[in-house]
Protein backbone atom coordinates (compact mmCIF):
# COMPACT_ATOMS: atom_id res chain seq x y z
CA UNK A 1 0.00 0.00 0.00
CA UNK A 2 2.88 2.30 0.84
CA UNK A 3 4.46 1.67 -2.57
CA UNK A 4 1.20 2.65 -4.24
CA UNK A 5 1.03 5.80 -2.14
CA UNK A 6 4.60 6.68 -3.11
CA UNK A 7 3.85 6.04 -6.81
CA UNK A 8 0.72 8.17 -6.54
CA UNK A 9 2.69 11.01 -4.95
CA UNK A 10 5.41 10.82 -7.62
CA UNK A 11 2.81 10.91 -10.41
CA UNK A 12 1.00 13.81 -8.75
CA UNK A 13 4.30 15.66 -8.47
CA UNK A 14 5.01 15.02 -12.17
CA UNK A 15 1.61 16.39 -13.17
CA UNK A 16 2.08 19.50 -11.04
CA UNK A 17 5.57 19.98 -12.44
CA UNK A 18 4.43 19.59 -16.05
CA UNK A 19 1.57 22.01 -15.47
CA UNK A 20 3.88 24.55 -13.92
CA UNK A 21 6.32 24.32 -16.82
CA UNK A 22 3.71 24.72 -19.49
CA UNK A 23 4.61 27.62 -21.72
CA UNK A 24 5.78 29.94 -18.98
CA UNK A 25 8.36 31.99 -20.83
CA UNK A 26 9.45 33.78 -17.64
CA UNK A 27 10.87 30.47 -16.40
CA UNK A 28 13.25 30.28 -19.38
CA UNK A 29 16.89 30.87 -18.40
CA UNK A 30 17.31 33.42 -21.16
CA UNK A 31 14.38 35.53 -20.02
CA UNK A 32 15.32 38.85 -18.45
CA UNK A 33 12.92 40.86 -16.36
CA UNK A 34 13.54 44.55 -16.95
CA UNK A 35 11.09 45.51 -14.23
CA UNK A 36 8.67 48.35 -14.61
CA UNK A 37 9.35 50.42 -17.71
CA UNK A 38 5.95 52.09 -17.81
CA UNK A 39 7.21 55.33 -16.29
CA UNK A 40 9.23 55.96 -19.45
CA UNK A 41 6.19 55.53 -21.64
CA UNK A 42 5.11 59.10 -20.98
CA UNK A 43 7.55 60.36 -23.58
CA UNK A 44 6.32 60.69 -27.14
CA UNK A 45 8.55 58.19 -28.91
CA UNK A 46 7.76 54.78 -27.49
CA UNK A 47 8.07 51.45 -29.26
CA UNK A 48 7.18 48.15 -27.71
CA UNK A 49 7.81 44.88 -29.47
CA UNK A 50 6.72 41.51 -28.15
CA UNK A 51 7.12 38.62 -30.58
CA UNK A 52 6.20 35.23 -29.17
CA UNK A 53 7.19 31.77 -30.40
CA UNK A 54 4.08 31.39 -32.59
CA UNK A 55 4.73 34.58 -34.47
CA UNK A 56 8.45 33.89 -34.72
CA UNK A 57 7.81 30.47 -36.24
CA UNK A 58 5.50 32.04 -38.84
CA UNK A 59 8.20 34.58 -39.63
CA UNK A 60 10.69 31.73 -39.93
CA UNK A 61 8.43 29.98 -42.45
CA UNK A 62 7.98 33.03 -44.64
CA UNK A 63 11.62 34.03 -44.50
CA UNK A 64 12.92 30.69 -45.79
CA UNK A 65 13.18 31.83 -49.36
CA UNK A 66 14.24 35.40 -48.69
CA UNK A 67 17.08 34.90 -46.30
CA UNK A 68 18.20 31.53 -44.93
CA UNK A 69 20.10 33.33 -42.15
CA UNK A 70 16.89 34.74 -40.71
CA UNK A 71 15.29 31.30 -40.82
CA UNK A 72 18.30 29.88 -39.01
CA UNK A 73 18.00 32.45 -36.23
CA UNK A 74 14.25 32.39 -35.83
CA UNK A 75 13.96 28.63 -35.52
CA UNK A 76 15.53 28.57 -32.10
CA UNK A 77 13.84 31.65 -30.68
CA UNK A 78 11.04 31.69 -28.13
CA UNK A 79 10.58 35.37 -27.46
CA UNK A 80 11.81 38.72 -28.69
CA UNK A 81 10.98 41.82 -26.71
CA UNK A 82 12.15 45.33 -27.35
CA UNK A 83 11.26 48.53 -25.55
CA UNK A 84 12.50 51.70 -27.16
CA UNK A 85 12.04 55.13 -25.60
CA UNK A 86 12.96 58.55 -26.84
CA UNK A 87 15.66 60.09 -24.67
CA UNK A 88 15.28 63.67 -23.52
CA UNK A 89 16.84 65.83 -20.83
CA UNK A 90 14.02 64.91 -18.47
CA UNK A 91 14.27 61.15 -18.57
CA UNK A 92 17.93 60.61 -19.48
CA UNK A 93 19.25 60.20 -15.94
CA UNK A 94 16.37 57.90 -15.02
CA UNK A 95 17.02 55.74 -18.07
CA UNK A 96 20.72 55.57 -17.22
CA UNK A 97 19.83 54.54 -13.68
CA UNK A 98 17.57 51.84 -15.12
CA UNK A 99 20.38 50.57 -17.35
CA UNK A 100 22.66 50.41 -14.30
CA UNK A 101 20.10 48.59 -12.15
CA UNK A 102 19.49 46.05 -14.94
CA UNK A 103 23.26 45.61 -15.21
CA UNK A 104 23.61 44.68 -11.52
CA UNK A 105 20.57 42.44 -11.67
CA UNK A 106 21.79 40.53 -14.72
CA UNK A 107 25.34 40.15 -13.45
CA UNK A 108 24.05 38.76 -10.17
CA UNK A 109 21.85 36.30 -12.12
CA UNK A 110 24.87 34.81 -13.95
CA UNK A 111 24.46 36.75 -17.16
CA UNK A 112 27.74 37.48 -18.89
CA UNK A 113 28.37 41.02 -20.08
CA UNK A 114 30.16 40.81 -23.42
CA UNK A 115 29.97 44.44 -24.48
CA UNK A 116 30.13 47.54 -22.34
CA UNK A 117 30.60 50.88 -24.03
CA UNK A 118 30.34 54.02 -21.99
CA UNK A 119 31.03 57.51 -23.21
CA UNK A 120 29.65 60.99 -22.59
CA UNK A 121 27.20 60.42 -25.37
CA UNK A 122 25.98 56.92 -24.81
CA UNK A 123 25.95 53.71 -22.86
CA UNK A 124 25.50 50.29 -24.48
CA UNK A 125 25.67 46.92 -22.81
CA UNK A 126 25.25 43.45 -24.30
CA UNK A 127 24.76 40.39 -22.11
CA UNK A 128 24.44 36.69 -22.88
CA UNK A 129 23.23 33.75 -20.86
CA UNK A 130 24.60 30.23 -21.35
CA UNK A 131 22.91 26.96 -20.53
CA UNK A 132 24.64 23.83 -19.24
CA UNK A 133 25.69 22.86 -22.79
CA UNK A 134 27.45 26.19 -23.34
CA UNK A 135 24.77 27.25 -25.77
CA UNK A 136 23.63 30.87 -25.69
CA UNK A 137 20.01 30.83 -24.55
CA UNK A 138 19.46 34.51 -23.86
CA UNK A 139 20.63 37.88 -25.11
CA UNK A 140 20.03 41.29 -23.60
CA UNK A 141 20.92 44.69 -24.99
CA UNK A 142 20.48 47.86 -22.99
CA UNK A 143 21.47 51.21 -24.38
CA UNK A 144 20.93 54.91 -23.79
CA UNK A 145 22.05 57.43 -26.35
CA UNK A 146 22.26 61.19 -26.17
CA UNK A 147 19.33 62.80 -28.05
CA UNK A 148 18.61 59.36 -29.35
CA UNK A 149 16.75 56.27 -28.22
CA UNK A 150 17.09 54.15 -25.15
CA UNK A 151 16.55 50.48 -25.90
CA UNK A 152 15.94 47.37 -23.80
CA UNK A 153 16.00 44.19 -25.86
CA UNK A 154 15.67 40.60 -24.69
CA UNK A 155 15.94 37.64 -27.05
CA UNK A 156 15.05 34.28 -25.51
CA UNK A 157 15.98 30.97 -27.13
CA UNK A 158 18.97 29.29 -28.74
CA UNK A 159 21.02 32.08 -30.23
CA UNK A 160 23.82 32.14 -32.75
CA UNK A 161 25.57 35.35 -31.80
CA UNK A 162 27.57 35.66 -35.01
CA UNK A 163 24.50 35.41 -37.23
CA UNK A 164 22.51 37.81 -35.06
CA UNK A 165 25.34 40.34 -35.16
CA UNK A 166 25.62 40.00 -38.92
CA UNK A 167 21.90 40.38 -39.44
CA UNK A 168 21.72 43.30 -37.03
CA UNK A 169 24.24 45.16 -39.13
CA UNK A 170 22.28 44.38 -42.28
CA UNK A 171 19.13 45.95 -40.84
CA UNK A 172 19.94 49.62 -40.72
CA UNK A 173 18.93 51.53 -37.68
CA UNK A 174 16.77 54.09 -39.59
CA UNK A 175 14.10 51.40 -39.56
CA UNK A 176 13.55 52.32 -35.94
CA UNK A 177 11.57 55.31 -37.11
CA UNK A 178 9.30 53.15 -39.19
CA UNK A 179 7.87 51.21 -36.29
CA UNK A 180 7.53 53.93 -33.70
CA UNK A 181 4.31 54.08 -31.69
CA UNK A 182 3.34 50.54 -32.66
CA UNK A 183 2.88 47.57 -30.42
CA UNK A 184 3.60 43.91 -31.10
CA UNK A 185 0.80 41.53 -31.99
CA UNK A 186 1.21 39.43 -28.87
CA UNK A 187 0.81 42.50 -26.76
CA UNK A 188 -2.52 43.29 -28.30
CA UNK A 189 -3.94 39.84 -27.68
Amino acid sequence: MKTIKTTFLILAFLVINLTAQSDDITKEPGYADFGDLTKFETSTGVTEVILDEDLLSILAEISTDEDPNVMEILNGLKLVTANVFEVNEKNKSELEAKVNSIDSKLISSNWKRIVRTRSDEEIANVYIKHNGNKQIVGLVVTSVGNDDEAAFVNIVGTIDLATIGKLGKEFNIPQLEGVNHQKGKSDEN
Partner: protein, 187 residues
Protein backbone atom coordinates in the same frame (compact mmCIF):
# COMPACT_ATOMS: atom_id res chain seq x y z
CA UNK B 1 2.46 10.35 31.92
CA UNK B 2 4.18 11.96 28.99
CA UNK B 3 6.60 9.93 26.90
CA UNK B 4 10.17 11.08 26.73
CA UNK B 5 11.37 12.39 23.34
CA UNK B 6 14.01 9.65 23.08
CA UNK B 7 11.39 6.99 23.88
CA UNK B 8 9.20 8.37 21.14
CA UNK B 9 12.09 8.19 18.70
CA UNK B 10 12.90 4.63 19.75
CA UNK B 11 9.26 3.70 19.33
CA UNK B 12 9.22 5.21 15.87
CA UNK B 13 12.39 3.38 14.91
CA UNK B 14 11.02 0.11 16.26
CA UNK B 15 7.80 0.60 14.28
CA UNK B 16 9.83 1.20 11.14
CA UNK B 17 11.96 -1.88 11.81
CA UNK B 18 8.80 -3.98 12.29
CA UNK B 19 7.30 -2.65 9.05
CA UNK B 20 10.50 -3.40 7.15
CA UNK B 21 10.75 -6.87 8.68
CA UNK B 22 7.17 -7.68 7.69
CA UNK B 23 7.65 -6.20 4.21
CA UNK B 24 5.08 -3.42 4.75
CA UNK B 25 7.48 -0.46 4.67
CA UNK B 26 7.93 2.01 1.86
CA UNK B 27 11.12 2.33 -0.13
CA UNK B 28 12.38 5.31 1.90
CA UNK B 29 11.93 3.50 5.22
CA UNK B 30 13.58 0.39 3.77
CA UNK B 31 16.64 2.36 2.74
CA UNK B 32 16.71 4.18 6.06
CA UNK B 33 16.52 0.96 8.08
CA UNK B 34 19.07 -0.71 5.82
CA UNK B 35 21.66 1.95 6.63
CA UNK B 36 20.57 2.19 10.25
CA UNK B 37 21.02 -1.56 10.67
CA UNK B 38 24.49 -1.34 9.13
CA UNK B 39 25.53 1.42 11.46
CA UNK B 40 23.77 0.31 14.64
CA UNK B 41 24.27 -3.25 15.87
CA UNK B 42 21.27 -3.01 18.19
CA UNK B 43 18.98 -2.00 15.35
CA UNK B 44 20.44 -4.78 13.21
CA UNK B 45 19.76 -7.48 15.81
CA UNK B 46 16.25 -6.12 16.35
CA UNK B 47 15.63 -6.19 12.61
CA UNK B 48 16.86 -9.78 12.34
CA UNK B 49 14.71 -10.76 15.29
CA UNK B 50 11.58 -9.28 13.74
CA UNK B 51 12.48 -10.74 10.36
CA UNK B 52 12.65 -14.23 11.86
CA UNK B 53 9.31 -13.65 13.58
CA UNK B 54 7.83 -12.40 10.32
CA UNK B 55 9.08 -15.48 8.50
CA UNK B 56 7.54 -17.70 11.17
CA UNK B 57 4.25 -15.79 11.00
CA UNK B 58 4.16 -16.04 7.22
CA UNK B 59 4.87 -19.76 7.44
CA UNK B 60 1.92 -20.41 9.72
CA UNK B 61 -0.62 -22.61 7.99
CA UNK B 62 -4.26 -21.70 7.89
CA UNK B 63 -6.30 -24.02 9.97
CA UNK B 64 -9.93 -24.86 9.56
CA UNK B 65 -12.05 -23.46 12.34
CA UNK B 66 -14.25 -26.17 13.81
CA UNK B 67 -17.95 -25.79 12.98
CA UNK B 68 -19.04 -25.54 16.57
CA UNK B 69 -16.86 -22.40 17.05
CA UNK B 70 -18.38 -20.77 13.95
CA UNK B 71 -21.87 -21.63 15.20
CA UNK B 72 -21.05 -20.19 18.60
CA UNK B 73 -19.65 -17.04 17.09
CA UNK B 74 -22.76 -16.62 14.94
CA UNK B 75 -24.99 -17.04 17.92
CA UNK B 76 -23.10 -14.33 19.79
CA UNK B 77 -22.92 -11.84 16.91
CA UNK B 78 -26.36 -12.73 15.53
CA UNK B 79 -24.68 -13.64 12.27
CA UNK B 80 -27.58 -14.26 9.94
CA UNK B 81 -28.92 -12.55 6.81
CA UNK B 82 -26.53 -11.80 3.96
CA UNK B 83 -23.64 -13.57 5.59
CA UNK B 84 -25.62 -16.71 5.14
CA UNK B 85 -25.38 -16.27 1.39
CA UNK B 86 -21.76 -15.16 1.28
CA UNK B 87 -19.40 -17.19 3.41
CA UNK B 88 -17.33 -14.93 5.66
CA UNK B 89 -13.95 -16.01 4.26
CA UNK B 90 -15.11 -15.23 0.72
CA UNK B 91 -16.48 -11.77 1.58
CA UNK B 92 -13.32 -11.00 3.53
CA UNK B 93 -11.22 -12.14 0.58
CA UNK B 94 -13.21 -10.06 -1.91
CA UNK B 95 -13.10 -6.92 0.23
CA UNK B 96 -9.42 -7.27 1.03
CA UNK B 97 -8.69 -7.84 -2.68
CA UNK B 98 -10.69 -4.75 -3.61
CA UNK B 99 -9.05 -2.58 -1.00
CA UNK B 100 -5.49 -3.69 -1.64
CA UNK B 101 -5.39 -4.24 -5.39
CA UNK B 102 -8.36 -3.06 -7.45
CA UNK B 103 -8.99 0.40 -5.98
CA UNK B 104 -5.37 1.62 -6.01
CA UNK B 105 -4.90 0.10 -9.46
CA UNK B 106 -8.00 1.94 -10.71
CA UNK B 107 -6.76 5.21 -9.20
CA UNK B 108 -3.36 4.72 -10.82
CA UNK B 109 -5.02 3.83 -14.12
CA UNK B 110 -7.11 7.00 -14.06
CA UNK B 111 -4.07 9.06 -13.16
CA UNK B 112 -2.08 7.47 -15.98
CA UNK B 113 -4.83 8.22 -18.50
CA UNK B 114 -5.00 11.78 -17.16
CA UNK B 115 -1.23 12.28 -17.58
CA UNK B 116 -1.17 10.82 -21.09
CA UNK B 117 -4.12 12.92 -22.22
CA UNK B 118 -2.60 15.96 -20.54
CA UNK B 119 0.64 15.46 -22.45
CA UNK B 120 -1.21 14.99 -25.73
CA UNK B 121 -3.38 18.05 -25.16
CA UNK B 122 -0.35 20.03 -24.09
CA UNK B 123 1.08 19.81 -27.61
CA UNK B 124 1.13 23.26 -29.13
CA UNK B 125 -2.32 24.18 -30.31
CA UNK B 126 -2.70 25.27 -33.91
CA UNK B 127 -1.25 28.72 -34.22
CA UNK B 128 -3.46 31.74 -34.17
CA UNK B 129 -4.05 32.93 -37.70
CA UNK B 130 -2.27 36.16 -38.29
CA UNK B 131 -3.23 38.61 -40.96
CA UNK B 132 -0.75 39.69 -43.61
CA UNK B 133 -0.50 43.12 -42.01
CA UNK B 134 0.25 41.62 -38.62
CA UNK B 135 2.99 39.44 -40.06
CA UNK B 136 4.49 42.38 -41.92
CA UNK B 137 4.46 44.42 -38.73
CA UNK B 138 6.04 41.55 -36.80
CA UNK B 139 8.75 41.27 -39.45
CA UNK B 140 9.46 44.98 -39.14
CA UNK B 141 9.58 44.71 -35.36
CA UNK B 142 11.94 41.76 -35.53
CA UNK B 143 14.24 43.73 -37.78
CA UNK B 144 14.05 46.63 -35.34
CA UNK B 145 15.05 44.37 -32.46
CA UNK B 146 17.93 42.86 -34.43
CA UNK B 147 18.96 46.34 -35.54
CA UNK B 148 19.26 47.44 -31.90
CA UNK B 149 21.45 44.43 -31.19
CA UNK B 150 23.51 45.16 -34.30
CA UNK B 151 23.87 48.79 -33.29
CA UNK B 152 25.25 47.77 -29.89
CA UNK B 153 27.77 45.48 -31.57
CA UNK B 154 28.77 48.25 -33.98
CA UNK B 155 29.30 50.65 -31.07
CA UNK B 156 31.54 48.10 -29.40
CA UNK B 157 33.48 47.50 -32.61
CA UNK B 158 33.83 51.23 -33.20
CA UNK B 159 35.09 51.99 -29.71
CA UNK B 160 37.45 49.03 -29.85
CA UNK B 161 38.98 50.07 -33.16
CA UNK B 162 39.10 53.79 -32.32
CA UNK B 163 39.97 53.86 -28.67
CA UNK B 164 41.85 50.61 -28.12
CA UNK B 165 43.56 49.98 -31.44
CA UNK B 166 44.16 53.56 -32.58
CA UNK B 167 44.71 55.42 -29.35
CA UNK B 168 46.16 52.95 -26.88
CA UNK B 169 48.13 50.51 -29.04
CA UNK B 170 49.32 53.03 -31.61
CA UNK B 171 50.32 55.47 -28.87
CA UNK B 172 52.41 52.84 -27.13
CA UNK B 173 53.92 51.64 -30.41
CA UNK B 174 54.88 55.21 -31.29
CA UNK B 175 56.38 55.73 -27.85
CA UNK B 176 58.39 52.54 -28.25
CA UNK B 177 59.56 53.57 -31.71
CA UNK B 178 60.59 57.00 -30.36
CA UNK B 179 62.58 55.34 -27.57
CA UNK B 180 64.39 53.03 -29.97
CA UNK B 181 65.18 55.61 -32.59
CA UNK B 182 65.98 58.68 -30.50
CA UNK B 183 67.36 57.46 -27.23
CA UNK B 184 68.93 54.08 -27.89
CA UNK B 185 70.17 54.54 -31.47
CA UNK B 186 70.68 58.26 -31.02
CA UNK B 187 68.39 59.87 -33.53
Amino acid sequence: MQMKESDKLNQKLTDKIINVAYGNAGIVDRIYIFFKAKADGKANSLLNEYRNTAISVHNLKQEEVPDYIIAKAKSITGGTGQNEFIPSHISYGVFSFLSTKVIPATVLGILFIFIVSFLILREPSPSHKYSKAEIELAEKQLKLSLAIVGKAFQKAEKSFSEEVLNNQINKNLNRGYFLVTNILIGG
